[in-house]
Symmetry: C2
Subunit: 150 residues, 2 copies
């Protein structure tokens, strides 16, 4: 990793209209990453990146994240083959989030449950209680087989 990020300016205008990409990592050193399919814009997942993951993503064109549960760098698709080739990276007005438009290799699926997107459930209310109902049941791979391979 050779790419480094300068500290963000305290000047809001500089963050919004300046030419420097100075991500505003939070107190844990992370920015939010929103990942959509470059083909049709479908939301695939939301994850987090530290400076190393973000630099590796920019330099290699392959999406890397920081796994908060494993507390380590995470090359998405390393186990499943569902690697994400990054077509475009955008950032938002205050530079605390990035948007990756990706092409998914392997099974063309992103969720570890085997589905195309992690957002396979719709939120609603039933009998006064917040509920989820499955909107997408199609599986692109069998997690038991794919994650057992390692």
């Amino acid at each position: 990793m050779t790419l480094t990020f300068a500290a963000p300016s305290n000047d809001k205008a500089e963050l919004e209209i300046g030419s420097a990409f100075t991500p505003r990592f939070d107190e844990k050193g992370l920015v939010t990453a929103v990942v959509t399919d470059a083909r049709d814009g479908e939301l695939l997942m939301v994850a987090h990146m530290n400076a190393e993951a973000l630099a590796l993503t920019i330099e290699t064109g392959i999406a890397h994240y920081f796994s908060r549960s494993r507390n380590s760098l995470w090359k998405k698709g390393e186990s499943s083959g569902n690697v994400q080739a990054v077509q475009e990276i955008r950032t938002d007005c205050d530079q605390d989030a990035v948007w990756l438009k990706v092409t998914v290799a392997g099974h063309d699926a992103t969720c570890h449950t085997g589905r195309r997107s992690c957002f396979y459930r719709t939120v609603g209310v039933e009998g006064g209680e917040p509920k989820v109902t499955i909107s997408d049941e199609r599986r692109y791979f069998d997690p038991k087989l794919v994650y057992a391979e390692k």
Copy 2:
């Protein structure tokens, strides 16, 4: 606000396939909210919600967030008129993020800079330095006029 959320299960399978919506608020009491335009899926913004904002959003059908900079409940569009009517809410496999598909009222714009989306800049590298270039310069409103009205 009458809707309350039960604590998330420690059982991963229950979180992934159960019928209860039990958002996994982080240590600050927040989940990530990804907001897209219900018409064409364009990513408009990323924000955060506490339990109150999430309940209000579900109950009223109008997007509410928690402003981390102001440390308070935030009804999006209260100043600008660019209120978001929620068409669908989804959640992801581990229930720590929600996806709102919205219809934007007012100027049909979401970013406080007057643009349709907060993600108006593309990230790249120039001379070894991380840079941003503006991909969307179109303004739907003049922030000086809109935010001065208050």
